[in-house]
Amino acid sequence: MSLSFKKKKPSRPLNVVWARFAAAMALLFGVGTASARVRWNFQTPVTPMAHQIFHLQDIMFGVCVVIFVLVFGVMFYSIFAHRKSKGHKPATFHQSTTIEIIWTAVPFLILVAVAVPATATLIRMENTSDSALTVRITGYQWKWHYTYPAQGIGFFSDLSTPVAQIENQEPKGRHYLLQVDHPLVLPVGEKIRFQITSKDVIHSWWVPSFGVKTDAIPGFINQTWTEIDVPGTYRGQCAELCGMGHAFMPIVVKAVSQKDFQKWVTAQKALMVASAAGSNKTWTEADLLSHGKTVFAANCAACHQITGQGVPGTFPPLSAGKKFSAAPAMLQQLRNRGFLTKDGRIVMGPVKNHLSIVLQGIPGTPMPSFAGQLNDADVAAVITYERNSFGNHTGDVIEPSQVAAVR
């Protein structure tokens, strides 16, 4: 990601004002040495909409600065000249209809003037017609799912920053918290329509360089669009508080040429065929455990923690014998499924119920259904892993065929 001022288009004089103002602030805050890495304004725009938004903000910022300087120029002159300590005698005026009409009307006219370009931009922003490609985006706690309906491709996109970096046990990488395992790949130079929704709570899909931010709301499909001018990697984040993992569900978009995009589509289709094949074979215990560990880290660890110890009061631990207390409704649900003893300890219940918890979720609790997110091999692996890790030694080995049978 570019972080310096030089990258911005030099054609806008207001940007220069911004830059000088920002530089002055940098000096004021005494962070001059660090400011090479600090960005003071929007990220570099790479779509027509982002350019227009940048331009609108320049206008608005300019208007605000002028008003501010004028009004407080008058006030500070008054503070300087009309002080009692200088022996200034107070005037007695307290009304002037003329001047009051002027300072009601002038701001109104300024507002009309800025509303015109704002409205034009808004109308363009809302026009999602004539798109060449449609991508469906679904928010989950706490990851994104992308589908290309016409191409038949779908995949999850998870944070790939290692937990050790977040916990400060390893040095943080350059793209700390802004990297994912499977970025969204989009072609440059054509209009792309996004259809955005959510499976659980409200999220918001935001890529600053595109000027796109749209809420992902369960039960609604919001539409927006973009057209990327420049190939590159663009990073954004979820912009609506969605629970514990809100800061940890970034968005990474790789914008590539249309030829590269076609190649990527072909490769993805081949991958999906291979993955489906995995669900039809019989796995060894070792393979299930190692695949299960990966699936657990990507899907379960956000709540149940990478250690499987959960979060007291909210997310149950997965270790048999551990005490757990939470809202009575949740405890009852766990007891009904045989996963909680009378004295409030976690226990590994029947495999049948374990499968139903993972596939259907537990209604009324934060445990979601993973039926749509994980294939048979993933489910088999993660349950095998859970029943033989975190101090559990059930020895159970679950095969994909068992999962397929209860789906």
Partner: protein, 521 residues
Amino acid sequence: MASAAATHEEHPVGLKRWLFTTNHKDIGTMYLVFSLLMFFVAGSFAMVIRAELFSPGMQIVQPYFFNELTTMHGLVMIFGAIMPGFVGFANWQLPMMIGAPDMALPRLNNWSFWILPFAFTLMLSSFFVPGGAPGTGWTMYAPLSIEAGMGMDMVIFSIHLLGISSVLGAINIIVTILNMRAPGMTLMKMPMFVWTWLITAFLLVAVMPVLAGTVTMVLMDRHFGTHFFDAAGGGDPVLYQHLFWFFGHPEVYIMILPAFGIISQIIPTFSRKPLFGYESMVYATASIAFLSFIVWGHHMFTVGMPAAAEMFFMYSTMLIAVPTGVKIFNWVATMWRGSLSFETPMLFAIGFLVMFTIGGLSGLMLAVVPADFQYHNTYFVVAHFHYVLFSGAAMAMMGGCYYWLPKWTGHMYNETLGKWHFWLTTIFFNLTFFPMHFLGLAGMPRRVPDYALQFTDLNRVASIGAFGLGLSQLLWVYVIYQTVKGGKKAASKVWEGAEGLEWTLTSPPPYHSFATAPTVK
């Protein structure tokens, strides 16, 4: 007079005085002390938040607890510090400013206050139940609030209690102002502080029940099988936001209009010149209140409203700049060619004027829908609302505190320390919140416990500023304590340029003032 006044001064002492009092001055004091306490409770949450955000990576709290802190910081500051603070000012000042002996409904007044400690005990104890306090942000958006732990229910019930307290307090204020003004004090002769509170009270009566209804719907969805906000059951998650912000935007003005009132008292006093454009000030305040009911959509431009609705909310929001501008211009015109002096209350008023305007102008930038898509839910918004709520509402209360404290206690505060408090607050406030504008523009979302590396430097600056800002407020408490304990005797008319009925009373005023109504010419 001596014997009659002596019996009037009698009141229970000790705890009983405060539990059973119906005196507007006692109740005002309790509101103010309570508000100050909550200011420090919620402020301490902010200190933990800023400590966590000092560096990238998780350092001192877990992500979920971080969300609990942001939620409770917002709820306690809004409902515990700012709103009761202004009610405290209203209790002390309104009867003295309109020449009334007390509030119109004194027992109701007592009850309005005493609901608060119980409500906040309930709200704050949600930290200690399984699942902890809600981690939904103070906005409590469904469906996140539907899936939260039982702490959410406690917050819902405490909001019900706070709503009852606010509505009762507001009714009391309306009744007092409309019925108990001294002979000759027509509506258009009322001090601006009285006017702003009258309008605020109507806003409270109008919108607190909406909030109560909305959180009740959340409660129903959580426990009683309804699906108001559950899409799977035919409900509508966006409906929650419409309802919440129909309350939420007038709520913003509930927190700022009384501040306008305080500033409108302070500036003429230290300019030694009457308030410029009194009538237009009244009309501007009323217009702002009216407009506050038709702008709520600007909090939710990204939910996918139709373009026509977005345009409507953009234009109506921009319109608010007109009456707000009128107020700013009037204050500056009041100072123009006055005879200015710069005691602590005036410093706070000028600080308010400059920094509130920064918040107002960033609000104007936020109103522009396409640009708002970029600002929405970023630190730019955090900067914006702290400029209007801290340097706006809170600093107006600090100014008002220094302005009227000599009247209330009968002692002058320490001017040097007062000025130190102002400058430390102003410098650290800007150090904390100005960099947040840049963080937001550069792409840092709000309500995150951890952030990408390019946001580190400005977050460090903000955290250092926040610790300074928090510590500076201890000085304020010390000055208040010192003034209550003793100090130079304050005259009846504490400030040379002060106008109004409260300055005709002794400092401190008698326990029961204006037993006989004064006449206003």
